[in-house]
Each structure stands twice: as C-alpha cells, then as structure tokens.
C-alpha cells in the first residue's frame, strides 16, 4: 500500500530576493508561505478556488505594470516577486486596500466575537496605516441578520471576500447564501421569497454551515450558540476528536471555566481537511444536561428507589451482584457504540476475565448473525480504504449508506473528487437523496430488503466496481438486509474493488477491534480458535481454560435471554433501548433481569431501571481514542479536568472489587495491552499491526440474497435512515442546531401517493400493530410500495413507536393523528 510519490514539476522563482522552488501551477502566495513570508489576505483560502476579490495580497512582480494579486497568480520560471517586505509599491498597495476595507467597517471590535482572533484586526495592525483619512458616514445595516438558526450575519463587518458563498457552493454544495445587490450595497443574503415576510426566506440550512463561521476572516458570520459568550483570549484550546460519527474529525475544543464554549474543525489533511459538520461543531452541550450523573446511585433495598451512594458502596454492591449472577445464569454485556477503543477493550476484557462470558456486543441497532461474521471476516484488523483512496477511486458505490446523513466527511471527499474530476458515484437506495444528488450519483432505486439482490446482479455496479481503485461502501444498515454483507464481500472479491464498512457511531469500529463482540477477541481473533485464545490468554497472563471458548450471544440474543429470565444480570454501557430493533423487548428484558449495572452519563432509561448506576465521563472529560471507519486511530486528550472517570477506570475498579487486576484503568496501560493484540496498521502504509497475528480469520459469510417483502394493498415496505441532525441524545441541549435539522417527511412514490389519494404535505400514517407515525407526505421519485421516514427525528421515532426496522412491512394510510 505504499504510495509512489508522483514526481512534481517545479519552477524556480525569487521572492524578496530569496530563491524558491515551487510546484508548477502553485500560487505565488503559497510559494511565499514556503519561505515564511506571509502576504496578507482575506478571500484566499487554500481549499477554495482563487477569487481575487479582496485584492489585499497585491505584490510587485517584475515586468508587470500593475501590482499583481498573489492569490491568483501562478508561479512561473524566473519570476521575480517583491512583497510588502521589500517593495514600496506592494506595501503602498496593501495599505491602500486595507484603508478601503476599513472605511465601511464598523470597527466595533470590542463587541465582536472575532475580536482577538480576527484576520482583519491582525492584518490591519501589521499591514495597515495607523490612522484613517475617512471622515464620511459609514454604510449601515440592521444587525444581526439570522441567516439560519445557528448562523448570524453582520453585514456591516463583512468584507465581501466570498469565502462563505464559495464554501457553500464548492465544498458543501448547499448554495443557500449568495451575493446580493451591487457596489457598496453588495451583501451576503439568503433567498428571500418575499422581502416583507421572513417566513418565506429559505434559511441557510446546510449540514456544513458552521464552517462558514470558522473561515470568515472578519466577524461577519457569528455562531448563535457562541455569540458573546467569551473572548478568544480567555479561552483555552484543546485538540480533540469528534465523538459523534465514524468520520473521525479532528477538532478543537475551546473552553473557559470548566465549560466548553465552542468547537472548531481541526486541520487534518488526511481526514477532515479543515471542515467538519454542524453536529460535530455544535452538539456538545449534552454534557451539561441537568440529568447528568456525578455520583453513583444504588437501589435502596427498603424503598426500592435509586439513592446516591459513595463509590466504595456502589462498587461493592455492583461487584457482589455481578459475582452472584455470574454463577447464576451469567451476565450479558451491552456496551453501546459511544466508547473509546480503550473503554471497549476494558469491557471486552472485563466480560471475558471477570464475568467469564462471551455474551458481549457493542451493537445497539438492528443486527444479524451475518453481520457478526462479516465484522470478523472483512472489518476487524483491516485498513484497506482511506479518505485519500476516495480521491483516487475510479468509482464509488454506496449500499446501505447515505453518506451526507451518516458520514458527512465521506460525502465531502466524494463531492470534492466529483467536482475535481467527475468521480462516478453509484448508490443502491430507495430514492435519490440530497446527498446523492450533490454527488451526481447514479442511484439504482431499490426496495429495502432487495439491496443484496441488486448488488449481486447489477451489471452496471459490477462494471463500476471493476474500475481502477473502485470502492464499495457498505453502511451498518446493510446488516438488516438478508445476504447484504455476504453479497458485498463476494462482489468486492470478484471485482477487485476495495470494501469499506462505515458504521454510524464513533466507537463502533474501535469496539470491533477491541473484541466487544460475541465471536471476536481483541484484534479480530475468533473465540473458537484455540490459537487465538491462547495468544490472548498469554497476553493477559491467564491460565488455560479461563477464557470462555463458546461463542457468545449477540445483542438481540442477550435481550431475548434476559427477557426469558435466563440471564443473571446485565452490564450496560451507554445504550438507549430506543436505538435497538425492538425497544419494547429491551425494556422488558431490563425489567425481567435480576440485576442491572448501568455505566451512564445521564439518568437514562437504562439507568432508571438499574440496580447500580455508575457515572462515567463524557468524551471531553477523559482521554482515549476512537477508531474511525478507515481504521485510523484518533487519539484525544482530556479537555476538561474533572473527577469523572472513564468506563475503563470504573471497570478496572469493579474488577479490583472482584479480586482481579485488569490493568485497564490507566489509558496508557490499556493502550499498551491493546497494542499487543489489536494494533492496526497505519492507514496508507505497508506497516503491519498486531491484529490477527497468529490466528485464523473468520470466514466470509455466504448468506444468499434475500428478497424484499411484498406489500399487499394498504401496506408498504419501510425504508429509513437517520437524519444527521435528529433526536440523538448527544444533540440534546442545542436549540440552534436543532433549528437547522431537515423537516421529517414521509416519502412515497407518485403511484403510492395516488393509491392513497394524497399530495405533497398531506398527512400520511405509517403504522404497525404497536403504533403509528403521521408525517406530511413528500412525493418522491422512488420505488412503488415503499415509504421512507427518518429513523429518529421529531415525530418519527421509528423503532420506539413502530418496533420494526427497515425492510419490514408496515400499514400505510392517509391522515390520522400523530401518535
């Protein structure tokens, strides 16, 4: 997998008397950066196409009559450039432009959020004159203008560099803001259906709109969430990894007095470049929720209610309960997908060593035995596809994955490549979503359940996947399609395409590697393989036979067993029953099982039913690492130093209470143990990790492709996925963010709508024996007999209300009242 570094043609030029060698076609402003000469700029951004609008970067080029904008001028052999450092012409030009920029700038730095980190402020000091000659009236606008619930626009401060509009157009593809008017009245605006009534405005509702705030070189775009809450100079910045999805964005958390004030996208060229999504940027206030747990809770024997307890008491009660259950039916471990890889490893080791069971599963969503095999055969220990591979791919195919909603950074990379060189995208999906539309994707409209069949038989897809460097992306939703993952693995093998499994949660991939699965030990080692067991036993210094050899039960089976009274206890991490295929069954299982230990951040549904609740730290209050979908480790440090403990530390203490030294309480120690068993190769290198060393790999599943359910009259096949912004509990507490979520609708085809007699906006009810969801209809070009509703959005809590997963048959009718 080593990359051959392509030979880059270079040219030699002189900047301020220093000879520079720069790649052919590079811009003068970048060449100057190479030698540490900073030319002031506003409109220039390395990831956006040159605009030449602000004219701040003027330099003197020998042989040119006029000063040249260095952000649009490519380097040429023998070019002699003089910047403001050595040329009076360039210096005067820059000072002149700065004076122009400031004449209509309100200079309200004291009340501006950008004050202190403002490129205009900084460059006015470094490259401007100290006094202005402007004595006339400045241009005035009412302010601030909310262009969405989370982005506020101050037009007086705007220098019209067009970074935001170019970002929206070139990167996100959501052209909701643009320049309006002209001359000194030129301004950024949103589409106004009717200037008199703000209801007709089309707000700037893009999943990436927060990036425009970050790249704005002045304080024109501000965040409603962060506005006036702090000044840059009293914030402490800590690098951080995003805990929301499997993209693995690098981020920066700015905090003050023990509270995170804002988060910004980090700069990681290999992963998120300089962007992130609005969920990553704005959704962090859940840690300050009022139901946040800070002290352990124990169910009082007398009252039967949860009461606060000391750590020693809670740990003793928990240990005693688990020890009793271990010999009396066993303990099931549900970890959830929000864990760091170190925490997942702690659960994995705790289950095997302390509880003597393989009944552990991280999956808190619809799943299948086929998926369990697939994770062992085609995911664990493998680093086959990276973001950079998307840029090199001949074609990409998405099955069971809507990239914009479920992994926004994959979407950005694919779109970048689509715009740059027309990357061909294909998707197997029920309709052409907005994300697929922006990728120019060829969508094979498919009824949920038939994905495997389509993928297996489509000549078009086979041809696309045979292209050089083609990538087959499969989402976690494909688990609920019979034969889906088997077919994907088979087709990838046959066509030579790369296969990438993209889960939705940040901790999912790490949990696979750490062995939080009923059939896998850390490093993808199958539990049934004696060699694998002995390798793990040796690493953990266990006697032979301590590690359980029988495959464990998956989430569904654990819940079924608990419900049937076969399990002695449940140890539950951050799992919300509403995410599971059947929330009702999960809650019944929690009620039925004799003893429940819950490691929780907030007083959740599980915590309320638990016998012992142990509070754990949210991502910002602990150190750890996520493994993103690529298999890239994304380590992060503690942002806020609090007394809260990570899951691993709590489990370590619990183990000690049970008389075991697990040695996972310390992140460094956990990492050392992980490195011995489950280290992944570095993406894009030929280095080998320690995963799967000396062990067999689980065989690829070979489940035959299933067929889609056949709806009869009044029925439809359910299609669904999560909106990026929805009811997720990690988005709690931010109304500004929720305001830009997409409106939940029920999508049906034209003929299905005609059968029901509904038009756009009419109420459509989707129901099962358990409940019903009523949403406005949106007639969409899609397969007949299918209805799509969002999985967990306001008014559409699919699994909780209907108790079914996608692919199921549901009753569909017109009207009805909201359940």
């Amino acid at each position: 997998m080593t990359d051959v570094v392509p030979k880059v043609d270079t040219v030699k030029l002189t900047i301020d008397g220093i000879e520079v060698e720069a790649p052919k076609g590079a811009l003068v402003i970048r060449a100057a950066e190479q030698i540490g000469i900073s030319i002031p700029r506003f409109c220039d951004h390395p990831l956006l196409a040159p605009a030449g609008a602000c004219r701040q970067c003027l330099v003197d080029v020998e042989g040119q009559r006029k000063p040249v904008a260095s952000c649009t001028q490519p380097v040429a052999e023998g070019m002699v450039v003089r910047t403001q450092m050595t040329s009076e012409v360039a210096k005067k030009a820059q000072e002149g432009i700065m004076e122009f920029l400031l004449i209509n700038h309100p200079l309200d730095c004291p009340v501006c959020d950008k004050g202190g980190e403002c490129p205009l402020q900084n460059q006015a000091m470094s490259n401007g004159q100290s006094e202005s000659r402007f004595v006339e009236h400045k241009r005035e606008y009412p302010k601030p203008l909310p262009i969405s619930t989370q982005v506020l626009l101050d037009r007086e401060r705007c220098v019209l560099c067009q970074r935001c509009t170019r970002f929206s157009d070139e990167i996100a593809g959501d052209k909701f803001i643009d320049l309006m008017e002209r001359s000194s009245n030129e301004q950024i605006g949103v589409f106004r259906g009717n200037p008199e009534s703000p209801e007709d405005d089309a707000p700037f509702n893009s999943y990436y709109s927060g990036n425009t705030i970050q790249i704005c070189p002045v304080g024109a775009l501000t965040s409603a969430q962060y506005r006036f809450r702090a000044r840059p100079f009293d914030l402490v910045s800590t690098p951080n990894a995003c805990e929301h999805c499997a993209a693995g964005c690098d981020q920066r958390a700015d905090h003050r007095r023990g509270k995170v004030m804002r988060r910004l996208a980090g700069d990681d060229a290999a992963v998120n470049e300089e962007w992130n999504c609005d969920k990553g940027r704005f959704a962090f206030q859940y840690t300050q929720a009022t139901d946040r747990l800070t002290k352990p809770l124990v169910r009082d024997r007398k009252t039967g209610e949860l009461r606060e307890a000391s750590w020693p008491e809670a740990l003793t009660v928990a240990a005693a309960g688990l020890a009793a259950a271990k010999d009396n039916g066993g303990v099931g471990v549900l970890t959830g997908g929000r864990l760091t890889v170190e925490d997942a490893f702690a659960y994995s080791k705790f289950a095997r060593v302390a509880l003597g069971t393989n009944d552990i599963d991280f999956r808190a969503r619809p799943l299948s035995g086929e998926e369990t095999e697939f994770l062992g055969s085609s995911v664990a220990g493998r680093v086959d596809v990276t973001y950079a591979d998307i840029e090199r791919a001949g074609a990409v195919v998405f099955v069971g994955l809507e990239p914009e909603e479920e992994c926004p950074i994959i979407f950005l990379r694919a779109r970048k490549t689509y715009l740059k060189r027309g990357l061909a995208s294909y998707a197997v999906a029920p309709f052409v979503s907005r994300g697929f539309e922006k990728l120019g994707a060829t969508v094979i409209l498919t009824t949920p359940g038939a994905e495997a069949e389509v993928l297996g038989e489509s000549e078009q897809l086979r041809e696309a996947l045979s292209a050089d460097g083609a990538i087959l992306f499969v989402g976690e939703r494909l688990a609920s399609v019979e034969g889906g993952l088997s077919t994907a693995a088979r087709i990838a093998e046959e066509t030579g395409a790369k296969l990438a499994w993209v889960p939705r949660r940040a901790g999912d991939r790490g949990a696979v590697e750490a062995g939080a699965l009923p059939t896998l030990l850390p490093g993808g080692r199958p539990v049934y393989d004696p060699a694998a067991r002995s390798e793990v036993a040796a690493a953990w210094q266990l006697d032979a036979g301590v590690l359980p050899s029988a495959s464990g039960r998956d989430t569904d089976a654990i819940i079924a067993a608990a419900k049937a009274g076969q399990l002695g206890a449940l140890l539950v991490g951050g799992v919300d029953p509403a995410d599971l295929a059947d929330p009702q069954a999960a809650e019944q299982a929690l009620d039925a099982v004799g003893f429940v230990v819950s490691l929780e951040l907030r007083l959740s549904v599980v915590a309320k039913r638990a016998d012992v609740v142990l509070p754990i730290a949210p991502a910002v209050e602990k150190t750890g690492s996520y493994v993103n979908w690529e298999g890239r480790v994304r380590p992060f440090g503690t942002v806020l130093k609090t007394a809260a403990m990570s899951d691993a530390r709590v489990l370590d203490a619990l183990g000690r209470e049970l008389g075991l030294e697990l040695g996972v309480g310390d992140v460094a120690a956990a990492r050392t143990q992980l490195a011995a068993l489950a280290e992944l190769p570095l993406p894009g290198t030929a280095e080998a990790g320690t995963a799967l060393r000396g062990s067999v790999r689980v065989a690829v599943p070979t489940v035959a492709a299933g067929a889609a359910a056949a709806p009869t009259s009044g029925q439809a096949v359910l299609a669904s996925w999560h909106h990026l912004l929805d009811n997720g509990s990690l988005q709690d507490g931010d109304g500004h963010l929720a305001g830009t979520a997409r409106t939940p609708v029920a999508r049906i085809s034209k003929s299905t709508a005609a059968d029901l007699g509904v038009a756009d906006g009419d109420a459509v009810t989707v129901g099962t024996g358990r409940g019903a969801i009523t949403l406005p209809a949106l007639v969409t070009d899609m397969v007949d007999g299918v209805v799509w509703v969002p999985t967990n959005s306001p008014g559409s809590t699919l699994r909780r209300t209907l108790g079914v997963a996608e692919g199921a048959l549901v009753e569909i009718s017109t009207g009805g009242t909201k359940s």
């Binding site: 004291p110 009340v111 601030p144 506005r227 006036f228 809450r229 702090a230 000044r231 100079f233 009293d234």
Partner: protein
Amino acid sequence: MSIGGTLKGFGVTFSHMFKPVVTEEYPEQRKPPAPRYHGRHILNRWPDGLEKCIGCELCAWACPADAIFVEGADNTEDERFSPGERYAQTYQINYARCIFCGLCIEACPTRSLTMSNEYELARDNRRDLIFTKEMLLAPLLPGMERPPHDMRLGETEKDYYVGALENPGTSAGAEHYKGGQA
C-alpha cells in the same frame, strides 16, 4: 553623659511640639484624597439608566493581576441592559487581587469603567473582596430607570455614542456612592 547632651536631645523633642501635626485623625476625620486617586471601580450608566458596559472583556484582558472576570450576553428585544447588542451578564472585580493600576479604565472603550476615590476596601474575608456587578454599578440618579428597559435616548446605540460628547456627565455623583456591600 553631660547635661548638655541631655538638653540637646530633649531640645529636638520639644522643638517638635511647636511644628504642625502630620497625623491624620482617621477615621474621625477623612481627608479627601487627590482627585485622580485610584480607588474602587464604578460601572457607569447612561443618563437613562442603561449600563455603559458592553461586556467586551477588554478590562479583564488588560488587567495585569487577572482580577476582573466578565461574561457577555445578548441584549434582547424584551431585556435590554445596554445600548447595542451586547452587555455584561457577569462582572466581577476581585479586590484581593486588584493593584489599582488603572489599566482597565484605560482599556474601556465606552468609558463605562472608571475609578472612584473610595479607598475603604478592607474586608474580613476574601470572599467579600469579590465585588459583583450589582456592587460596582453606579447608583440610579434621579431620572434614571433601572434596566432592563428600552433605549430612551435614541433609536440606536449610535445615538448614545455620538451624543456622548454632549452628555459627558452621565454618571455624575457616582463617585460619592458609599454602597459597596449593598
């Protein structure tokens, strides 16, 4: 020791009996300090009672002793504390830290923060030395109205700032305020 030496010594003592006394009879008599004496701070008001402080935190940034803590917030249509968009939701000066250098009042862009001549700042515990916004705000003079309320002196904040030249004495009398622990 000769008697002459003794007399010489007492002579010095006696001669002082006829010189003016420099001892100040504090607290029975309180001499006013110099007009520009750096005493405790005042957060001034506009003539209609709105606060001049815009919560910009420049005073906190200028403070070499890290004695000032400010947190800004949005003025809304219903709750307006200062002209313009921003006001100080929290404002604290810790007089256990303050060195009375006056850099904060130099940094203040709205002349909101000024220093009075009051010097009686001793307290018997450290917590009481943290003065909150309520303690630092100038008292409401006649004609002033307790915020939050609408802007009374103009349509926009500009009317306040441009008019400031004609309205210099917006917090006249504030320095005589003896509140503190109010």
